[in-house]
Symmetry: C2
Amino acid sequence: MGSSERKERQKAKLQQQILDAAREITIRDGFAALTMRKIADAIEYAPGTIYLYFENRDEIAIQLCRQGYQELLDCLQPTATIPDPYDRLRAIASAYMDFGLANTATYRLIFMEDPKFTNAVLSEVPIDSSDGAGMKSFQLLVTIFDDMKAKGRLSIDADSARLAEIFWTSLHGILSLKLTFPGFLTTPSEELLTTMTDTFLAGLSQA
Amino acid sequence: MGSSERKERQKAKLQQQILDAAREITIRDGFAALTMRKIADAIEYAPGTIYLYFENRDEIAIQLCRQGYQELLDCLQPTATIPDPYDRLRAIASAYMDFGLANTATYRLIFMEDPKFTNAVLSEVPIDSSDGAGMKSFQLLVTIFDDMKAKGRLSIDADSARLAEIFWTSLHGILSLKLTFPGFLTTPSEELLTTMTDTFLAGLSQA
DNA sequence: GTCTATAGGCTGATAGAC
DNA sequence: GTCTATCAGCCTATAGAC
């Protein structure tokens, strides 16, 4: 028994090493440049060895995505304790932008890459605690609009999920254009964000 | 002279044929699947022949982008005649969304693909009439906010280019998430668009 | 468990015959 | 101008030796 447990630990260890290497390559060269050979080089094993720990490249990509959504959630989660939903919206928006700008490769991977990986992982319903981080992040946003409604200061009758979708798409629009066309948008990101958030909130209370 | 002109026409003809085939493959299989061999198969020439008409794959990609921006401009241009800037904004937004949803492969190519191609072409300043279509499209948006200001009904003091950038990023956000995560956003595109536009305009006149 | 070696595929691009 | 043939490289994944 003790021996098989040691083997399990050994296996998990190399698995994590593979993922770490894959993550680093993705960050450095982009997801398209992530190949089994490069991973093998990085961990100093033969390419074939990787297949003892992961079925194929896709499985690695999916794990990488899952990890990416978790990182995002870790960045957004702390804002959940802010009591006022308006303050909280600004805080989460700011955290989201910071995450995207600071982790461009990860952001691209989890939101701008092949739907084959992203779509499946994002839509995962949380089962155990390390699952469904994408959904949980989205829920943080929905809750904010629920709380705004509870405060009774929203003159718009759209439901919270809808408002969350609008706000999220706007955030993603800023980020993805900044990442795809560095230099085209002349307005700095923070300014785009504040103007967007201001007009959005003003619109909510007036529309 | 007459003979060399005929040769020129001949050359232009095959060049266009190559681009048409490339376009079709991109639409059908996606840009990543666009290869010289597939183009050659489609036009029924040997792969090497293409290199007599284009220097390499990148040059074809860039032409494809240029063509894509032109198609987009053709869709947006007709809205320019609408006198009221508020009506015009709704019309251009709607046309933009329709274009993206109806031409997903082209939209991906010109706004969501490799910056290597997109960035260069989008940032082109119009020189002759078939150039800089990306910039011209963006200018259509800027003009709308100029006109709104002239009407004096904007209580926000951001400049027109900035407002155009915000609005464009929001449009792009909706579209790109719809394309990357089909099925995740539960709200239909038109509803996201109207709610976004409504809150945005309400915000502009109130903020 | 890990290696070497390789199958079997794809790619962009080029050389040289016709 | 177009072809055939090919180079040189990349890729994923697997088989079989150790």
